[in-house]
Symmetry: C2
Subunit: 290 residues, 2 copies
């Protein structure tokens, strides 16, 4: 599915460029030397380049001041060559992430974390939708999974993932930015285990975004339910001792009962990067007409 979206974006980029428009450009700001952040950024710029989207990464040391970072963002906001702009999170403790997210021009905010983009998402208005929730939405749509009047359980309430997924799925399909019209339950770390099981067993769609390995087991899932695993957890393999990636769902058990299931790695992850690229092209298109 991610490859299919890649092909669509490639085509769209080529159409833009052959139409005499600027090539979409993704500006990335990376602070410090967290290995996971570096890997994420490298992966994003690699996919961008595959799709014909140009990019550049500004690397700042961990010691960078918040003011310096805000100045850099301001410069990139005003730079017409930058279509979309993202600051890789997390940031060092002395920098307020919220201030940084709100400093990015909302129309260039390809991560969709600006307060105005969050507000618009809640109101069902067109906005930059954060890439992971957009990926979950796209998987559901392209897999032909019905959402209207269905019972959805989202495990996890993070502001960048669980909450926006709940917003997309419960809102009105006739709004400016169509929603899923599903009944949606938001569960989280305070949800008692028995209560969670009671609710997942009623769910037509279970979306696991809690960051808890093996949270969703086969006894918790209704026969034929769609199970989408957004968790990315690094755990030590019991036999080999090596670190490996697992999701929040006990894939081997649940796959026997689910009607649809996404694996980790390889499910939501690649789709998320694809949606970030989609947002970058959307930002480039927006700039053409404004």
């Amino acid at each position: 599915m991610a490859r299919q979206i890649h092909r669509e974006i490639q085509r769209e980029v080529e159409e833009l460029v052959t139409g005499g428009n600027m090539r979409p450009h993704l500006g990335v700001v990376l602070v410090g030397d967290d290995p996971a952040s570096r890997t994420y950024v490298r992966n994003k710029t690699r996919v961008a380049s595959l799709l014909g989207i140009s990019s550049d990464t500004v690397v700042k040391p961990t010691s960078v001041s918040q003011d310096e970072l805000l100045e850099l963002i301001d410069k990139m906001n005003r730079d017409w060559k930058v279509s979309g702009l993202l600051v890789q999170l997390p940031l060092p403790g002395h920098i307020k992430e919220r201030a940084v997210c709100n400093a990015i021009a909302p129309e260039k905010d390809v991560d969709g974390f600006h307060i105005v983009n969050i507000g618009k998402l809640c109101l069902g208005q067109t906005s930059m939708v954060p890439a992971t929730p957009a990926a979950v939405w796209e998987i559901i749509r392209r897999a032909g999974i019905e959402t209207v009047g269905k019972n959805v359980l989202v495990a996890g309430r993070s502001k960048n993932v669980g909450l926006p997924i709940a917003m997309l799925l419960h809102t009105d399909r006739n709004h400016q930015r169509p929603g899923g019209d599903a009944t949606v339950t938001i569960a989280h770390r305070c949800t008692p285990r028995e209560q969670l099981k009671e609710l997942t067993r009623l769910a037509d769609i279970v979306i696991a975004a809690a960051g808890v390995p093996g949270l969703i087991t086969v006894d918790m899932v209704k026969e034929g339910a769609a199970v989408i695993d957004v968790g990315i957890n690094r755990v030590q393999d019991r036999t080999t001792g090596k670190l490996r990636l697992v999701g929040d769902v006990d894939f081997e058990g649940v796959k026997e009962k689910a009607g649809f299931i996404t694996p980790v790695p390889g499910g939501v992850g690649p789709m998320t990067v694809a949606m970030l690229m989609k947002n970058t092209v959307a930002a480039a298109r927006y700039a053409l007409t404004h």
Copy 2:
């Protein structure tokens, strides 16, 4: 409970004024001659006056242009004598309500409908919380109803009522603006009746904000559940033929089973006006320090 809050606000206003500060002032804009809107505005300014909050209402004809309305709001935003400012909704069809809500200075936005206040509410940041959701929150708190890890069902997803209630109740109690840490289900007009019943029967707290008279019946409620009725519906009495106010809950039936229940009229309604007054005093306090 509303009377108790009235006394608290009265005391707070008198402290402000005897401390040499300006008396909190509520500016109201009323467009057109919708009788319900007129009644609401009259009620708000009457309660304000009872609590020592001054107010004035600017009445504009239905024919007022959006630009004229935005200019008026801009003037009131810059008027330091206006602590809090609300435009009574609904507005005539030729005026975009969203543009009007977003024109009000967020720090004077006592209705809490500005896009930035909605975004902050979702992020668990301090913000102006819309009065009806704030009223539901306050009822739960003052009645001593536990929310952490409890199962809450909200029937209704309106942007001014159902959705913000779900936001308040599912979010983290340790955030800047504390949330309820409850598991929350958002149901709405697309939720099939049987699915709704299945979910309400599991709920420790049912909040009815759908605008559907008699939606919640006794067979749908768990023994001892708290039931909060936010519905305000005008229906014709079968025997007398007169219009009367009813909620979304079949009060007579449900009260036998619920551990806590609010009536309509007289429950959430008076609390809502009290919370609007609280927001006005908060706006006045904010102006003192900024």
